[in-house]
Every structure is written in structure tokens, then in C-alpha cells.
Symmetry: C2
Subunit: 333 residues, 2 copies
């Protein structure tokens, strides 16, 4: 049987990792790439520089709270920001289907520019390809960002994670995924759920100034559960989170109930987790709350041999929270 | 009537420029972007750094002389090389259609890696998105490259172009475009035409060591004619080229005769033009001939108010060689 790419290979979870670990890493073999972070930091003539790349294929390309232009800029800028980098330059490359509305292209371009300005990143290169009708679905955008380290010593690193540290989430989770589901499924939602799509620069900048952050990760494809699993895989520790502490908006919960979805796996595009020492927990949460009142601690890093994420449920039980294994909607971002 | 994106907007010629000048530049407004080169050079803490981005949508993704993986790496590396930059890092981002052959993906990935190694660029970041069956046609790849200036003073620049300088082409033109046409059109070609897809690093490196190159441009979408038009537009000079000097392979000529194509507009993916002072012409050609025996001078830079490219024909006439205005096959690269 011919081995083929399946939808799940794009879910950001288990199958994406199988593809990366089974195909891309053995072939590309780059030591830098093997770090597995969304951005890669390397030395350029003594300066710490980071690069991140992302292609965006979200459907619909206009959604409540954003569009593919805003998402393309915020996504790449956030990847740099959580690595402790100051985003400086960004490239933007379009693949557009013949027949695409010029007005929509203009709106998307303006939106990308608006968020590039807000992020103070300069758009330094671009590219446009057009494919014939039917060869793409509307518009796909790639952005690649370049950032520099402000203070190399203060940069978050997986190696700074220690047992006893606290896991904090910057706001309520799952909004972006729920938003895209609410657009795509014919559920009769009068009001679509608003995406959390947005920039994390200001909150991260203030947090890093005041707190010695061990590690940060933005929550994207695969949601909170997948992000935490990446952290335990790379750090070697376990993480225990408490179900009752994890903030989920009522409308997101309602959508999950209707569709049988698990909010821990729903994509976010404007949320991150930060891991900090216990004695800085209160200070960190105080700062995060200025930007989103739902920010709170959700669990702890623990010594462990299993590299697992455990969820203590509201009913007093404990379950393993694994990586995302399946994806109904492939085009979440 | 709804204004929409048309195939020609992706031809790399007149309509692409209309889109860039009419929509992207006014909105993005970046001074750096306005330079209009394929790569953008800027100062990063005193170091001259250049970035180039390109999305590749070529169909078929395997063609005689290359594939989309090789093309993706060579295209971006060549954009940096002609700007006088030493390519150092590259990112690679895939958009893959559900059902795509895993074996083909592996071949393409190996091919990208092979040419990254040959170019001595490190693959530092990647991304994979999967879209549902029918939402893309096989595979699209974005590469974004970062290069540094070896010698800032020796960097080619549009402002170094002067009247009387000589225009040299690095090899026979139009192979890549002819190759893609020969695959896509049902012409009964037993042997497809081989693409010129390849790296230009070594030839450019040797040329820049020995010759004071005023300006270089690689020939891609829109071919020789479009590249020369970009040069006259940006420099303000005219260029006169001689039809009988421009090297075109017999099989490319034959295809052009059958399909009614003009070889000057056919894409190349491993050729460039260099503009040098008259007294360095022989030395430059001697170096280029080591890499491709068809390399030769094809014309001169001339004082002029028209910013035009003139072609003196073999019949003793003179015609204006404009930018590409139409594109039958949108997915040439």
C-alpha cells in the first residue's frame, strides 16, 4: 500500500512528530533543527539570533477576531517572543488561487501590516505565486521572522526547567480552535466564538523584565495538552496540572460539549505557558493578569521517569494527558 | 465586477509588478522592501545581512533535471548569491495535500538536503501544514534564506551600473521554462528538455573574487527579458542586446517554434546576468565559461531616457523587449 500523508500529519501532535522525527530530522540532520523548538537560536558573528518559519492555511481566512494576515504575523512574532527574542524582521510570501478577490487580498495585506507595525517588525522581503483555479484553496501565507536576543543570559531554555517550578497559563485556552470550529461546522451558532489570535510581545516583555522565566511556549496547534507534552518530552520531567484551575470560557466549553471535543487540545493563537520558580509565581501571575484576567497557575513540574503530563480531574481522579492524536479540521492555522 | 487575482499576476512580469506596486508596496510601505530586489540587505548591529523568501509551486514537482526540493533550495540560495551575500541559513516550510505520497515527500526532502549541503547552508527551521484533499495540488514549499556580506564594498549594487558596461549571461537561457512546458504540454516529446535548475554559488564566488561586478541578477520567472527590464527600470539606463549573441539551445528553440513561445521570456533557474566594466569583460567571460561554455556577452548598458531593453535582431532590425505580459503556465517555479 502506498504510504501517504494524512490529515493527522498536520495536527501539530503525535503524527506531526512522527513525520518530523521519522522523515525530516533523519534527512535534514541539522543539529540546530533537532532542538525541536518553533524558533531556532544560533550565533551569527557572536550575536544571538533566532529564526522562525510558519505557513498558514487557515480556513476560513476571515474569522471572528482575526484573519490569515493577522494570524501570519502574530504566529511568527509570538514564536520568536516566547524564545526570549526581540522580533526585528519578517518576510511574507503568498500563494494565491486564481480568481481570489483582490479586495480580500487587500484586507489581508492591511491586516498583516497593522500587526507588523504593532509588533515593530519590518517587512523585509516578500513573494507572490499564483496557482490556477482549484490548485489551492484561496490563499496560503508563509511568514519567516528574525529576532535577536536582548539578554542572552535571561533567555528561557528547556534546560532551566526544574522540579517544583510552577506552570502558568496566560489566559483562557482553546478560543482559536473553537472559533475555527464554530465557523466550519454548521452548528447554527448565531455569534461565532472570538479567536484569541493576537500578539504576545508586550506581556512577554514585561514578564521577562520582572521575572526570571525558566521556559515559555505559545499554545498553537494541538493546544495546551500538546504544548505541555512537548515540554515534558524535551525536559525529561513530568508535569501535573489541575483540571479545575485550567481556564476555559463558557462558550468554548459549550462548543466542546456539542462536538465532543476536548478543550485541552484546541488551538490557541494568543496564549502561552510560562514555567517559573515557585517564589516568583505571584509576581508572574500579577503581571499576566494585567493583559488577561484569566491568567493563573495550573500545575507544577515534577521529578519523574515517565515524561508525562498528568491531569488531576475535578472528580479527584488522575489521567494522562497525551499529545493530540487526531484532528478533525486540518486547517486551524 | 469583482476584481480578482489572475494567472498573469504570478508571471513575474508586468502584472506581478502591478500587484506589488499597486497593492503590496503602498500597504507594507517598508523602505527596505521598496528596493524591489529578490533579496533585501540591511544592517544588523553593524553587520550587513540579507534575507530572501520564495514560495515554490512548480508543476510537475519532479521534472527533468530537478524537483521542487532542489528548486526550493537553489532558488533562494541563488537570490542571496547574486546580491553578493554568502548564504548561511535557510528555513523550509511545507504545505502538503492529504494523500500525497510519503515516498515522494522523502525524495523531495532528500533533494532539498542534498542542495543545502552543496550550498553549505544550514536548515535552521521548518514547518509542515497538511490541507485536505483538493485544497492544494500536491506540495508547495517556502524557503527563506539568510546570508551575510563577505565584503560590503564589493557588493553588487544597482547604483554601480554605468553607461558602457557590458551585459553577460552565464549560460544558455530558457531551459527551465522549456522543461516545464515540455512536461505539461502533450507534445509527444520523447525526451523532456532538461532544466537548468542548479546552484550559482561557485561561479558567482569565483567571479566576484576576480572581477569588480557592478550588478547581478538571476533569471527566474519572466526569463531574460523580464530580468533586463527590472534592471533598466531600477537603474534608469537602457540596455541593448543582440539577438544573435543570446545563447539558446536547439531543443529550446524547437519547443518555442512549436508552441509559439519567445525564449527570452522563458524561466531559468540556474542562470544569471552580470554587468561588468568593458575592460573586465574577457576575464569575466573566461571565468563563467569554466562553469557553462555558453556564457557570453549579449549587450551593453547605454545612456537613455526610456528605461527600455532593445533587441537588435538577426535581420538587422531593432525591437523593444518588454516585460512578460502573459503566462500560459502559472506554475513554473
Amino acid at each position: 500500500m502506498m504510504r501517504t500523508i494524512r490529515k493527522e500529519h498536520g495536527n501539530g501532535g503525535k503524527q506531526t512528530y512522527e513525520l518530523i522525527d521519522g522523515l525530516f530530522k533523519p534527512i535534514f540532520g541539522s543539529e540546530i533543527l533537532k532542538s525541536g523548538d518553533d524558533s531556532t537560536v544560533f550565533s551569527l558573528k557572536g550575536m544571538k539570533v533566532g529564526i522562525s518559519t510558519d505557513s498558514f492555511v487557515v480556513k476560513p481566512y476571515f474569522f471572528k477576531g482575526g484573519d490569515i494576515g493577522k494570524l501570519s504575523v502574530c504566529g511568527t512574532v509570538n514564536d520568536l517572543a516566547v524564545a526570549g527574542l526581540e522580533p526585528k524582521y519578517i518576510t511574507i510570501s503568498f500563494v494565491i488561487e486564481e480568481g481570489f478577490s483582490m479586495d480580500d487580498l487587500e484586507k489581508i495585506t492591511r491586516s498583516a501590516k497593522e500587526y507588523a507595525d504593532l509588533a515593530k517588525v519590518e517587512i523585509v522581503a516578500g513573494d507572490t505565486k499564483v496557482v490556477e483555479k482549484g490548485a489551492a484553496d484561496g490563499i496560503f501565507i508563509n511568514t519567516t521572522g528574525l529576532g535577536i536576543a536582548k539578554d542572552a543570559k535571561k533567555m528561557p531554555s528547556i534546560s532551566k526547567i526544574k522540579s517544583g517550578q510552577v506552570v502558568i497559563v496566560s489566559g483562557d485556552i482553546g478560543r482559536h480552535g473553537a472559533c475555527i470550529y464554530s465557523h466550519n461546522e454548521d452548528l447554527g451558532f448565531e455569534d461565532r466564538i472570538e479567536s484569541d489570535c493576537g500578539l504576545l510581545l508586550d506581556v512577554i516583555s514585561e514578564l521577562m523584565q520582572e521575572v526570571d522565566v525558566a521556559y515559555m511556549k505559545d499554545l498553537t496547534r494541538g493546544g495546551l495538552a500538546t504544548a505541555l507534552n512537548e515540554i515534558v518530552q524535551k525536559s525529561g520531567f513530568d508535569i501535573k496540572v489541575e483540571e479545575e484551575k485550567i481556564p476555559v470560557a463558557d462558550e468554548v466549553k459549550a462548543l466542546c460539549d456539542i462536538l465532543g471535543l476536548d478543550s485541552y487540545y484546541l488551538a490557541c493563537e494568543g496564549r502561552f505557558v510560562a514555567i517559573v520558580n515557585r517564589d516568583e509565581k505571584e509576581k508572574a501571575i500579577e503581571i499576566l493578569k494585567k493583559y488577561n484576567k484569566c491568567a493563573c497557575d495550573i500545575g507544577t513540574v515534577e521529578e519523574g521517569m515517565e515524561k508525562r503530563v498528568y491531569l488531576s480531574t475535578t472528580f479527584g481522579g488522575m489521567r494522562i494527558l497525551d499529545m493530540l492524536y487526531y484532528e478533525m479540521l486540518p486547517r486551524i492555522c
